[in-house]
Symmetry: C2
Subunit: 481 residues, 2 copies
């Protein structure tokens, strides 16, 4: 393979952080903009986000959710209506103080999240129980004035979806909160080939203004945790603060119960850090913008381009639901360069087709993840390609799950907890007393944070691994992004 033609990336084993940055830049996903903390999502990066949007949006709509668009700016007085919420967000928002030539009488912040806007809308539009539930979502960008930034993982602006629902009862709100967490978990496992651990955030880690925050936590290749999606139950706290009431069947006024849930462009970072390797990006077939690239070899020889075109046509005809996601690389560069570039960009399947292959009625298929070569009769190419893509999707998940399972451990006491985090970088499950002080101390001592209180609690021991007092919950601990 013509390695020299494709710029090399740092080895993942040598320097994971640099490897990540190299892949992001060399696979043309992002480029830095002239504005600190803001990036440009380039076509190959944005195309992945478009796939994520399509898959996730379809899953939302299946549960009855509809999309809306709220204003980008929030008046300071509106942001301040819910006490915990403003405390959590006010320190990190961008403030608009002038519109055109005039100074504004009240400053407006660029939305860091839109709970307050949805509340303002619900306050005016919900009258009766007949208008409940309200199941709304929006796709937009938000701004948070972060100090440290990293492509996809943390930026001053990022793209996301934020769902906001309003319900008649506390039970319905809780059910929806968990339903959407499940939607995220299914999307991660089925579409992104990303296993996650579901659970509840501790008081310290929950969302500003929420009664309960649920999360799915994924493990990256370097064994650090990435919070992949969160779903919040607000109870009627926001409804009390904003005065969102409905007339029930009983003709009395009641406060609504609300939820919100979000997933962001950081999922692209998760895909890179879970599936990527030393050749670059590896995209799960289901969300790969290009699933198959046909690389003609000796493309100027008679019949080669024709054979490539007719193979493309056959693929499109036999696999109509994937038809838009195949291409031929007919650019004027060497096959070796094209192979390496297709690998850098993470295209799941490459089909090589040269004069000798054509003479023998065959082509060569190469899976991106295993880089295994399979020779296949041209006539059978569509079926084989389809099977290889499905197999790759499944095996990416299996491999990620195996990685997670081999880097997670149950620790029963302080000694084994300490030993674990001295020696490894993985996740540990351990019992916790429920006190913030222990959570803070564990972070200070080991650099790990409580990722969540996992669903499916087990009683590993009776005492907190930090203070030794009576244990309340089993917590998942790990270093996080």
């Amino acid at each position: 393979m013509d390695k020299k033609l494709v710029e090399e990336i740092t080895s993942r084993e040598e320097n994971f952080t640099q490897w990540y940055t190299d892949v992001v830049l060399k696979a043309d996903l992002i480029s830095y903009s002239g504005i600190k903390g803001f990036t440009v999502m380039r076509p190959d990066g944005y195309a992945i986000w478009e796939q994520i949007q399509q898959h996730l949006d379809a899953r939302f709509k299946q549960t009855g959710v509809r999309n809306v668009y709220m204003p980008m700016l929030i008046p300071e007085s509106l942001l301040q209506k819910e006490k915990d919420h403003v405390e959590g967000f006010a320190p990190e928002v961008a403030w608009v103080t002038h519109g055109g030539q005039e100074e504004l009488t009240e400053r407006l912040c660029v939305r860091p999240t839109s709970e307050t806007l949805f509340c303002d809308y619900y306050k005016d539009s919900i009258r009766s129980y007949k208008e409940l539930p309200q199941l709304l979502n929006q796709w937009c960008s938000v701004v948070r004035w972060e100090k440290e930034t990293r492509p996809f993982l943390r930026g001053r602006e990022f793209l996301w979806q934020e769902g906001h629902t309003a319900h008649a009862t506390a039970e319905e709100a809780e059910e929806r909160t968990q339903q959407m967490l499940q939607v995220y978990a299914d999307f991660c496992s089925e579409d992104l080939a990303l296993p996650t651990i579901m659970g509840q955030k501790t008081e310290k880690e929950k969302f500003a203004g929420a009664k309960a925050t649920y999360t799915i936590e994924a493990m990256m290749h370097d064994c650090r945790a990435l919070q992949a999606g969160t779903s919040h139950n607000f109870g009627d706290g926001f409804a009390q603060a904003f005065g969102i009431q409905y007339a029930g069947k009983d003709n009395q006024l009641h406060h609504v119960h609300q939820t919100s849930w979000g997933m962001t462009t950081r999922m692209i970072g998760a895909i890179i850090m879970v599936h990527g390797d030393n050749e670059g990006l590896v995209l799960p077939p289901k969300i790969a913008p290009v699933q198959i690239v046909i690389v003609p070899v000796q493309q100027k020889k008679e019949g080669v381009m024709e054979a490539a075109e007719s193979l493309l046509t056959a693929l499109k005809e036999k696999l109509p639901e994937r038809a838009l996601r195949f291409k031929i690389d007919d650019t004027d560069r060497s096959p070796g360069f094209k192979f390496a570039e297709a690998e850098m960009r993470g295209i799941p399947l490459r089909i090589e087709l040269g004069p000798r292959d054509i003479a023998e009625g065959q082509c060569v298929m190469v899976r991106r993840d295993t880089r295994e070569k399979v020779t296949c009769p041209i006539a059978e190419a569509p079926e084989r390609a389809d099977a290889l893509l499905s197999q790759m999707q499944k095996e990416l998940y299996d491999r990620a799950l195996a990685h997670l399972e081999s880097h997670i451990e149950d620790t029963k006491d302080a000694a084994s907890f300490e030993e674990y985090f001295k020696e490894t970088k993985g996740f540990a499950r351990a019992m916790w007393c429920g006190d913030r002080a222990c959570e803070d101390k564990i972070k200070e001592d080991y650099g790990v944070t409580s990722r969540c209180i996992p669903f499916g609690q087990k009683r590993l021991s009776d005492s907190c691994v930090c203070c030794g007092k009576e244990a309340k919950h089993m917590v998942l601990w790990g270093r996080s992004y």
Copy 2:
């Protein structure tokens, strides 16, 4: 029809402006937010935008365009790099002066349009002729601090797409500028059933920083003009200002030639004002989020809901490409209310199905635009529905074209020009000397602006209808939104 149950809207003939606002609000497209000049796009409004996005995005991608995402904020120094551009936009932008707790060293504006950001990106990413053309687009929201605002037509924030391309030659840039204008015109006529007039903007009306601006102009039902989409050729002006150069085949450095083109959520306003009527919204089938609503009559009687469900299944099976855009209204309200509501929301086709119909093996189809009732055997419903939707799409266009053609006139001299605009509200074509002074005077005297210098120029007379001097161009004049 149970009219009383649906709130009435102002008559379109009595007060067009109020009728428009009534439709926007009562069809649940938009609600006003608590922030002056900002609106909430509600689910039924946003669903139309999603349809517009899908159709337009597919047309862009067919021409090789790819999507990206640029930062939302622009440093003041970047905005100022192109002299005409900053003069045009600086007076109407929103300024961010604080990030978190800190005052920024340089203020940032919320993008009113992103030419400067694309230029900044192209400056760093274009090196050689091999990287040209660059055909990029983004879907986003922009902020312009307008004084007067109206739902969809003019707001302090609106959603749009903005395409930005860079080319090796002036010819290619001009070709792309016109190609995208044609894409807009085709989208309007084929998808929105909206005839438009294509032409070039005068110097006065062109985009800040452009060498030439092309436009498509549509006529609303009240005969006023709406600028539906614009496409700009920047020549190498921005490239000079930003230093965007590429190494050509000749090994010399050359400036790129650029274009930009945009279409916004105001198209939803155009759909309302061209196709709507006194019953509410009328959506062209191709972009209607719901194309067919089945209204069961006496739905609690045995067999009615079953028949409705089986009709829905048959429609989905026979018309798979439309399958997601059918629904049954099984809510607990009277059929008359449902009919009126479906009309208010502009659903193209309604199918009524009651016990008597079922006994006779038939259903009743009602087109939204003509409100004509057609009785049809249930077995033939999918084919008939499909045909009615296609027919409605075509006839909406034909009707809008007839309206445009009957309200446009060629005026050959000052007297007939004056007479025309005293008596009617339509468009007039008339000769113009090319002087800004005449353009200003005509606006002052008649309240009309130059909409464009239409393609397919004719020489209606030899002298300007304003000053009598030698004519240079035939101009389309009209009152505009």
